[in-house]
């Protein structure tokens, strides 16, 4: 196998790993964001996971098992609903 071919194969194999890594970083940012916004609304929650419902609509699960829905309503306000 030529060197060039090997290099390309490596690039193709490694690229998804980097993509996954950047996605994980985005996830971490989102969890931090949700944690902060829930705290701003007076609830204590360390968000450990989130499920996206739509563009600005998430279900957040806290470390202690609580769940919150965080979304923006029609007036553009962020609403935190305990589930």
């Amino acid at each position: 196998m030529s060197t060039h071919l090997t290099a390309w194969a490596l690039i193709v194999a490694i690229a998804p790993l980097f993509a996954a890594s950047s996605r994980a970083a985005e996830d971490t940012l989102l969890l931090k964001d949700l944690t902060a916004v829930i705290a701003l609304n007076g609830q204590s929650c360390q968000v450990v996971s989130a499920v996206r419902q739509s563009e600005s609509d998430y279900f957040a699960s806290c470390e202690d098992g609580k769940r919150y829905r965080v979304f923006t309503n029609a007036k553009g306000r962020v609403v935190v609903e305990k589930q």
């Binding site: 060197t3 490596l10 902060a36 609304n41 829905r69 923006t72 935190v80």
Partner: protein, 220 residues
């Protein structure tokens, strides 16, 4: 290039990439979130108070970060130049600050070190620049920014009523203002300390604008 060299480089890159992927296992750990979509029917248990008056609970929720925050965000400016930034805050929310500041002097040399850098921060107030920086900062997520914006709007509405002779007394407004500022500072201090310092240094100037009816009217 020799095959073994390619293999060595490739393995090095793979190790780096895998190190970056370690976070994946942390973030989405509890994957049992399938049920939530059904929740649309449940009436908002605590939805309404979300943006209206979250004053007392956030204080409790945010207290730990604030305590940690002050030594970082507030103590350098105090040492650097302006006592005015800290001294004029009579609100109860400001009371924790002195206590943390008093604890901070224990390691005195660390406080003196950053002072030259902070000297530029407490400059004159530039609301537009502050707003731009707050919009642009990556220290705060999109949801959080929007939520803060909502709370700022609520506070401005209260000031509007106040200037029209309305209900909230100035002391209440000051408390809410201080609380909101502390929230912003606690969000900024870890990842955007310079902006946190700028906001902290502008605290009294902004308050001056809010209280002055003429200046407040110009805010639009």
């Amino acid at each position: 290039m020799k095959p073994w060299a390619v293999a060595v480089i490739a393995s090095f890159i793979i190790v780096l990439a895998l190190a970056g992927c370690v976070r994946i296992s942390i973030a989405p750990s509890p994957a049992a979130l399938a049920p939530p979509p059904v929740t649309a029917t449940t009436p908002a248990v605590e939805s309404a108070p979300s943006a209206v008056a979250p004053a007392p609970p956030p204080a409790a929720a945010l207290e730990p970060p604030q305590v940690a925050a002050h030594p970082v965000a507030l103590s350098p400016p105090v040492a650097a130049s302006p006592p005015p930034a800290v001294a004029p805050t009579p609100a109860p929310a400001a009371s924790p600050a002195p206590t943390t500041v008093s604890k901070a002097p224990a390691p005195p040399k660390t406080v003196s070190a950053p002072t030259p850098v902070k000297a530029a921060a407490p400059s004159t107030l530039d609301l537009a620049a502050l707003e731009t920086r707050l919009r642009a900062t990556r220290a705060i997520g999109v949801f959080t920014k929007l939520s803060l914006k909502n709370q700022v709007s609520d506070l401005l509405d209260q000031f509007k009523t106040f200037h029209h002779g309305g209900a909230p007394p100035l002391t209440t407004l000051r408390q809410e203002y201080d609380l909101l500022l502390l929230k912003v500072l606690s969000l900024l201090q870890d990842n955007d300390a310079s902006l946190a310092n700028a906001v902290s240094a502008s605290r009294e100037s902004i308050w001056g604008i809010l209280v002055d009816p003429a200046k407040f009217a110009k805010l639009g």
